[in-house]
């Protein structure tokens, strides 16, 4: 024994504190001294655990385990000491070591894990010295901490226990362990799967069957493609009918819920037993599982759905049990809009649940209601929810807002027909005193502005109402909404009715409460408004000039400027319904100048810069002769003015459009561009001011210019020419616009019905919603849905590759499982079409069918099965051939194939008679496409 000075002495061993001592010490210490007590104990343990005496070591390890599991101490450093204790012949020591290891080992971060392989193998081996008390913790460790390597190495050692050759109580534990091993190491499937399948047989003990069913449930649920488990359906069906254990039945139902989606005939088969359980079982857990199975997989069977809905109502009506109410709501939510009658029947309960004391139940009720939304009821339900949100507690109010925003905004507002209504609803949401969803409201306001042209006037109106309200400025959550409102009213200023009022709102004194970024947006909006009013005014004059050049002089003698002279002509030429008078524009400019003036000294650069822009613009306007001429009742043509107008128009006239999230992907990389090339010459490119004439990339503006004809004849104006240059050079990075136009037209120019605006007059209470129906009502169309620009299917939806790795692994597993179950050596592709997949594999591997997994004769059902077989054989054969034809077109011609097929299957019949029997005996067999192969 190599004893160094620091090694523990005999004293340590003799006076070691036991676990009880440690616990008492910790309990007697206050919360302040506890940390110190733990630290002291840890020091002790570090010393003791290196003791050559195994008992001292074991006690130290036990104390460490206690500290680690209940006081969150890291014990990964003690992994080696746990391993040291494993081989000890005295039973308590390896048990302590296993407990420590299974609580602390981590499959990916414990480096010493491979060292456990040998000892685990020794403990798993069938031998009299390996009592269950020793094997159980060994199985635990393997189940909880096994890495892929460990699982692969030890999988063969699990087989004797799983197949029941060792002591019986261990068998279910080994089954669960085998499940974990399969999950981390799909390669173990050929070894482990057959014994697992055997566990389902009639002769197994109930708890073995129970463990096996749990394992298969886990496997089938985790597999991306559960079709490899279809051949086991007869076993599960037997359990479904015979078993009296609720926990087993729940697992079996879960398996069937997964399998039934693959094989419709399976659903028809299980619907009766499931309904019986639903009617008779007193256990709520089982009833709930039945409900779930029916709703998820048997929704085509109306009687079953009816029954399930009745049970859900019982759940919802149980006032004393919030659990059942919660689950009832969840179950209803599974139904989806197609079964809105079911929700309709429980409408009152659902609405009452919005008032439940339990936030989880309220949340479920809200989810349920949102799930029921469709085009025809979205208006009334949302109106009422938003009204309700005004009065409920802040958290739930925001939850409601969130849900409404998410549901209405889903898939580019697919639910919304009446955008005017939705925009005003957004405005109402912003006014909710608890509203903390400003960012999403902001996004949607701007997004609707970009996408829905017809909604812009209403958008501007709502934005005005928001901007004009000084009370909203103080709410920090609304900053972003106001920013969107300001942007909208600047961008779509042409829809605005009263420019002066708008500018006053944008420049009201309380705007100093806003953050500087939002303020900058405000001032930019003012800039756009000033520009717009000036342009409109000038155009008015120009239009007048051209139309009535003859009596020009008389017109301008009028004090009021242009307006009164020839109203009819002017009205034709401008968008606005109101004529713009020189006075009003002049007043506007004065007002802006005085209020923005101080901001040019603002500390914030953004605000300052924009303020100076505005002031600069006003100065330019004032300097033009045209401006002053009008006031002086003189008239001379001035080219400069039209230049300015065009310049300013060019700056703002182009519509901003939405950008697809996939825009970057669509840009094709030119041949001569090497993306990975060193970017060091980028500086050179940037420095190059000369325009290199670009190749043949054509580009067209998406803009909707009100004065398109004018643009052609326009003299060279700086901003637009710069823009054109920029586009010429970088045009390929922009979306090609033709496509967008086409796609936006693709969107149905709906004649979809629109609800007559809520007949609930001023419903103040949420309970009034009960008066309404979730069932979609077809109302008369009052107004077509406006065009919503959608860029492509991928708009707003980004696919994530995160789950790829896991799926790949699962695929490996189901591939391996399929190999085992089907007796195949080749690597099958994971295909959903089981029968064609199988037949083709069979052909290749005719000789290699060596596994006989299906030999569980079930004589009582034999007759049944055969009868059914006869009747369906013709059909199924046809079915398979048809599938083959479709499955691999162009391989060989059909005749040859069907010939081969028949010879092949006749060979099957001769060769695998025993197999065929085993396969087809239980009575669900004819439902499986898999088995039909043998029936020919």
């Amino acid at each position: 024994m190599a004893a160094t000075s620091s090694s523990p002495s005999l004293v340590d061993t003799l006076f070691q504190r036991s676990l009880d001592d440690l616990i008492r010490a910790l309990r007697s210490s206050s919360s302040v001294t506890e940390a110190a007590a733990i630290a002291r104990a840890l020091d002790e343990i570090r010393r003791e655990i290196r003791s050559p005496d195994l008992d001292t070591k074991a006690v130290a390890l036990q104390k460490l385990t206690y500290l680690a599991s209940l006081h969150h101490l890291d014990m990964s450093w003690a992994a080696f000491h746990a391993l040291e204790l494993l081989p000890s012949p005295s039973l308590p020591r390896p048990r302590v070591a296993y407990l420590a290891a299974s609580l602390s080992f981590h499959p990916s971060s414990t480096d010493l894990l491979p060292l456990a392989t040998h000892q685990l193998r020794k403990h798993l081996a069938p031998s009299p010295s390996n009592t269950p008390a020793l094997v159980t913790p060994a199985l635990h460790l393997l189940a909880l901490a096994s890495s892929a390597d460990l699982a692969c190495h030890l999988a063969p050692d699990l087989v004797p226990i799983v197949s029941g050759q060792s002591s019986i109580p261990l068998r279910p534990k080994a089954i669960a362990t085998a499940l974990r091993a399969l999950a981390v190491c799909p390669d173990a499937a050929p070894v482990l799967f057959k014994p697992l399948v055997d566990c389902l047989s009639l002769s197994s003990e109930p708890h073995v069957v129970s463990a096996a069913v749990s394992a298969f449930c886990e496997l089938a649920l985790a597999a991306p493609d559960p079709s490899p488990y279809l051949p086991l359906a007869p076993e599960f069906y037997r359990l479904l009918v015979d078993s009296r254990n609720n926990w087993v039945l729940i697992k079996v139902l879960k398996i069937f819920a997964r399998l039934a989606s693959l094989e419709p005939r399976l659903a028809a088969r299980i619907v009766d037993p499931v309904c019986q359980l639903l009617r008779r079982s007193p256990a709520k857990s089982l009833v709930f599982e039945c409900i779930r199975t029916v709703l998820s997989s048997l929704s085509d069977h109306d009687a079953a759905v009816r029954l399930a809905v009745d049970k859900i109502k019982e759940f919802l009506a149980s006032d004393d049990d919030p659990n059942l109410r919660y689950l009832g709501l969840q179950a209803l939510a599974m139904l989806g809009p197609a079964y809105s009658w079911a929700v309709e029947e429980s409408r009152e309960v659902v609405i009452q649940s919005l008032n439940d004391t339990d936030t989880n139940i309220r949340h479920e009720a809200l989810c349920l209601i949102m799930g029921m939304l469709c085009e025809s009821n979205v208006v009334e339900i949302c109106n009422l929810l938003i009204k309700y949100a005004m009065k409920c507690d802040p958290d739930f109010a925001n939850e409601i807002l969130d849900a409404v925003l998410a549901t209405c905004g889903r898939n580019v507002y697919e639910l919304i027909v009446d955008f005017d209504w939705y925009i005003s609803l957004l405005g109402e949401m912003a006014r909710n005193p608890h509203c903390a969803k400003g960012n999403e409201i902001e996004r949607q306001l701007v997004d609707i502005g970009l996408r829905v042209r017809d909604a812009r006037p209403e958008l501007v109106r709502v934005a005005r109402d928001l901007l004009i309200d000084p009370a909203l400025l103080g709410n920090p959550f609304l900053c972003s909404v106001l920013s969107a409102a300001a942007w909208v009213s600047g961008e779509y200023v042409e829809s605005s009715s009263n420019l002066l009022e708008l500018v006053e709102a944008l420049l009201q004194p309380r705007t100093n409460l806003l953050s500087s970024l939002v303020r900058a947006v405000y001032i930019q909006a003012v800039f756009k408004i000033v520009t717009f009013s000036f342009i409109s005014f000038i155009k008015q004059i120009q239009a007048f000039d051209t139309k009535s050049s003859a009596d020009r002089s008389t017109a301008f003698e009028n004090e009021d400027g242009v307006a009164t002279a020839d109203k009819a002509v002017i009205f034709d030429s401008i968008d606005n319904n109101e004529t713009i008078k020189h006075e009003s524009v002049s007043h506007l400019l004065d007002f802006v100048e005085t209020t923005v003036g101080p901001l040019s000294e603002c500390d914030d650069v953004e605000v300052q810069e924009r303020a100076r822009n505005v002031l600069g613009l006003i100065r330019i306007i004032r300097e033009t002769r045209y401006w002053n001429i009008v006031a002086e009742h003189e008239l001379t043509r001035d080219n400069k003015i039209s230049e300015i107008v065009e310049l300013m128009e060019a700056a703002f006239s182009e519509d901003l459009g939405p950008v697809s999230t996939n825009a970057q992907k669509r840009v094709t990389v030119p041949e001569d561009l090497i993306l990975n090339e060193n970017l060091s010459d980028l500086a050179g490119v940037l420095g190059d001011i000369d325009v290199t004439p670009c190749t043949s990339i054509s580009f067209s503006l998406r803009g909707h210019h009100p004065t398109k004809s004018k643009e052609d004849s326009a003299p060279v104006i700086e901003p637009s020419s710069l823009l054109a240059e920029h586009r010429k050079r970088h045009g390929l990075y922009y979306l090609s616009t033709e496509k967008d136009e086409v796609e936006s037209n693709d969107y149905p120019l709906a004649n979809e019905p629109l609800l007559p605006v809520s007949h609930v007059d001023d419903a103040k209470d949420i309970v009034k919603l009960t008066a309404q129906s979730f069932i979609p009502r077809k109302a008369k169309s009052t107004k077509p849905r406006p065009v919503v620009i959608r860029l492509d299917e991928g708009d707003g939806v980004s696919s994530s590759g995160l789950t790829m790795v896991k799926e790949f692994k699962d695929d490996l597993l189901s591939g391996a499982v399929r190999n085992v179950l089907l007796g195949n050596e080749s690597k099958p592709s994971s295909s959903h079409d089981m029968s064609s997949d199988r037949t083709s594999q069979r052909g290749e591997n005719d000789a290699s069918n060596n596994n006989d997994l299906f030999s569980q004769p079930n004589e009582s059902n034999a007759l049944d099965g055969r009868e059914h077989r006869k009747s369906s054989s013709r059909k199924s054969r046809h079915h398979i051939r048809h599938k083959e034809k479709n499955g691999s077109p162009g391989n060989e011609d059909t005749e040859e194939k069907s010939h081969r097929h028949s010879t092949r299957s006749s060979r099957h019949q001769g060769k695998h008679k025993h197999r065929q029997r085993g396969d087809t005996l239980p009575d669900v067999v004819p439902q499986e496409p898999v088995i039909q192969d043998f029936l020919l």
Binding site: L70, L99, H106, P137, L179, S285, T357
Partner: protein, 160 residues
């Protein structure tokens, strides 16, 4: 499947943790902190389920202890409540009207009992009698082994 089982007291003190999915030590502390915060704030007479990070946590309070089981969204919540109750009954039978102190001083026993009921996140033994018998057998084996190895003279001999 069951991802983990946690027992904590009304004061948020952890009494037992069992992780069936791999969690690093740091993650474990965060999980416990978050969940105890979430569950302890819930009043009585509310439902026993909370949603948490895409999982469902089924909890139930027995005396001063909260038993929490974290499961996948498609697992059966009511079944978990039954399993919890099953576990509590077995503990009760083993310790004789179990209390928090029993679990504190016999934390390894509590683990061994749990391990008889759940392995790898799957329910193993649905019979209370069988579990009691298995645990008793383990105890007697462990006692005899301890008797052989526990004497002081033995310890002195081994350390020489």
């Amino acid at each position: 499947m069951i991802h983990f089982v946690i027992l904590f007291s009304r004061q948020g003190k952890v009494r037992l943790t069992k992780w069936y999915s791999p969690y690093q030590q740091k993650e474990r502390s965060t999980v416990i902190r978050e969940l105890s915060g979430l569950i302890l704030t819930r009043g009585p007479k509310l439902c026993n389920f909370v949603e948490w990070k895409g999982y469902k946590v089924v909890y139930r309070r027995y005396a001063s202890l909260y038993f929490c089981i974290c499961i996948d969204p498609d697992d059966n919540e009511l079944e978990m409540l039954e399993i919890t109750h099953h576990f509590v009954e077995i503990l009760d039978r083993y310790f004789g009207s179990v209390c928090e102190l029993d679990l504190i001083f016999n934390f390894h026993k509590a683990y061994y009992i749990l391990d008889e009921i759940l392995i790898a996140g799957e329910l193993q033994e649905s019979s209370k009698k069988t579990v009691a018998r298995l645990i008793a057998a383990q105890d007697s084996l462990a006692e005899t082994a301890k008797g052989e190895a526990g004497s002081i003279s033995n310890m002195i001999l081994q350390s020489m």
